[in-house]
Amino acid sequence: MSTAAAPPPKKTNRIGLEVLSYKGSKTTLCAGCGHNAISERVVECFYELGVEPWRVAKLSGIGCSSKSPAYFLGLSHSFNGVHGRMPALATGAILANSSLLGLGVSGDGDTASIGLGQFMHMVRRNLPMIYIIEDNGVYGLTKGQFSATANVGSTLKTGAANDLPPFDCCALALKWGATFVARSFSGDKKQLQAILKTAISHRGLSVIDVVSPCVTFNDHQGSTKSYAYMKEHDLVLNELDYVPAQDDIAVEIPEGEAMDVRLHDGSHLRIRKLGRDFDPTNRLAALAAIEDAESKGEVLTGVLYVNTGKPTFLDLLNLPAEPIATLPESRVRPSRAVLEEVMEELR
């Protein structure tokens, strides 16, 4: 036996990787920006669940938020696209290789203005991937103009007030077919972790709207997307407990206390209602709850909707299990006889 003191064993996850393997390059976003906290949660969740980083494709549009994929999962492929059009890139990539775990990051400007059309169509297709909206109510990267998620009456630093009604990205996602819809707050570590982990395990489109304050342009008094506003108005809908597939879940849950959702990869999400009665499998109820909270100036966070049974776009397209992008020539180039058959038809 060696007498030299062995270095303390490095902490690794299920697949033997250290947390370092899940980090990206150093952030260039403002200190205190909500987006940075979200990046940290991504690192933790992917590390803790032992997701192979090379199985992940990060996709983003343009904005401070869309830059953030550079700051996590540095071992993964990433595509920083054009403004508002991450959904199209993601759709193409996932069709080409359905075994990829798509992780899309967008902003409220990227999603709710220039990219609204693509966002809605991706929702409609239930493309299996994670879609995070880092929602700060402004265009951070272009220095603080209102976005379409800004609330009526919310003010800019200049004092100018927004007078147009906001798009609620969760409500849009609920209405048109996303199968996991949640809202969180970049400052709520535990809730965001549970939601992210659920999204990783869910098969279908997960839309996660994360209120993520912009400390530079929208964190002042009068803003409805500031840390201070969220501290006061975050209305937490439910308590979430994510149970990984490999953990023993034999523990019985007392009837009526929590709802147990079995996710695609065998993990579970336990949703414990807080205060009011709310069923996260009821789409209409979720829409009503959002409306209700908004009318009271509250921001409803938690799991709004989950549906594990709906076919995804990949199912509808009848794709094989393996990536079509790299099928061998013998499976993608029809035979000489086929060409001859077609030529005969055209004679």
């Binding site: 696209g81 890139l89 759709t91 290789n97």
Partner: protein, 614 residues
Amino acid sequence: MSTLEVSPAEPLSAHAGRSVVNDFSLQVATVNGSGSQTANSVLMRAIFQMGIPVSGKNMFPSNIAGLPTWFTIRASKYGYVGRRKEIDFLVAMNPETAREDVMKLEAGAAVVYDEPLKLSQLRGDLHFYPVPFDKLVGPVCPDAKLRKLVRNMIYDGVVAWLLSIEMEEVHRALVKQFGKRKAKAAELNWGAAQAGFDYASKTLTKADPCRVERMNATAGKIIVDGNAACALGAMFAGVTVVTWYPITPSSSLVETLIGYMRRFRVEPETGKATYAIVQAEDELASIGMALGAGWAGARSMTATAGPGLSLMSEFIGLGYYAEVPAVIYDVERVGPSTGLPTRTQQGDLLMTAFLSHGDTKHPMFFPCSMEECFTMSIEAFEFAERFQTPVFILTDLDLGMNNWMSDPFPYPEKPMNRGKVLTAEDLDRLGGFARYLDVDGDGVGYRTLPGTNHTKAGYFTRGSGHNENAQYTEREDDYINNMDRLAHKFEVMRSHVPEPAEETRAGARIGIIAIGSSDYAARESCDQLQAEYGVAVSYLRLRAYPFTKHLEEFIRRHDRVYVIDQNRDAQLLMLMRMELEPDLIARLRSVRYYGGMPIDARTITDTIVKQEGK
């Protein structure tokens, strides 16, 4: 005075006994949505089956039903299948346009017309054949609802008798057209064609000179449109992700592809599709999906026309800088918004060459025939992956939507080459890679595909601000390095794009340069210039951009070179001017046509003759 007053016997006697065999244009004027397409295709096919070179062009409005449509069949024993302006034989079925259609004809032409239109009163220098279509259709089509459709088939029979088209061939074409499943419809239509034939043989007296005679110039050939040929090319290129947004004249490319892929790319053992076709929400999305798929390693494509291409512009630039393969078909047509969306043009050349902002330039392939639509599609998919960049295939409405004869397509003999893609094993061996490093000196770096099972596989893809390791940078030296490598890559493409086709004539001092669908008119014009004016003309057909060295060599060998453009601003010529020396530019002359119809030989010949001072 007006030709109306001339009595028929006099001018027509001049044509007596003259016979024009296998060399005429026949035009059918109908109303959009009246179901004349079948009758026209059958007519064209019957002539084709008699071994005579033939082409069919549909001139249709941007409308679903009720507006005038013209279908022109050109039969040419010389094999000229481009548009000919002059119509020798008119079938006037549309009351709205009949008068104008008749007035436009040259003396001596023939007119089959619906009797109540009383067209024979219009002119005395034409051969008129009145046919009471409504009276004839009743007995052969008891179901009144179908009469509108079946009625058209009557003119097939009339024309067959007048032009000596064999009725067995009409029948064969009909059966082919309807297929086995619609045997009843075929029978009904056959009845109508026979009724037309019988009426003509009993009632009409053949007076015009046009007729067909069996030849042997089409044996083994196929009839197909360019969109279908491109679709087949894409399928045999192994395309796996197809994205699109409907737009005339490119829609039928993908629609045809959908049909073929369902038949031949669903695996019988599993019932699974080896492809994904997505009708996107718009062209902003369709190009994004194509690029996302290309990035992830798929052979991906989209098909569009000018307006869609305009929308794709920003993404195409990203594809250029991020170096992502994709094939983009642009079936060119006229203008934005309402305009002439169903007319042809080569108007997207300049836009496509430099599509997007910043320094961008793109390879373009210019197929001119059905066979090239097929083979160049396969080449384009190879090229896109070889050079990791969006590649454009420019066709136009004339090629894409009209019917053309062709030799059967050759099966691709070369195995697929997926370009410089590193696998996990490669990465083990190499210990890593730099995505944008020019290892081989051709400007093309090595890439990995997302999902490659290796810790060294991942890289960050973004726009212009990256260094050789795909890291973000705004340094000027990194930016310039990258730009210079991209420029070098483009130069390397010059010796890899499809080379031009050249026809040199002995002693020729002047030359013609054309691309794509201008080829037919260009070649016919070369013959006209030789035969009618004794001028020898050489011909260079460019097949791709960036231009190869052949362009410069060709111009150097000629005193004057006529560049043919189907657009107002001489876009092809402008593209050449950007890279040629002034002494060569000085030799260039422009021949332009931009009326929305396919360019015809006479227009080219007349323009050249005028400029040559002949």
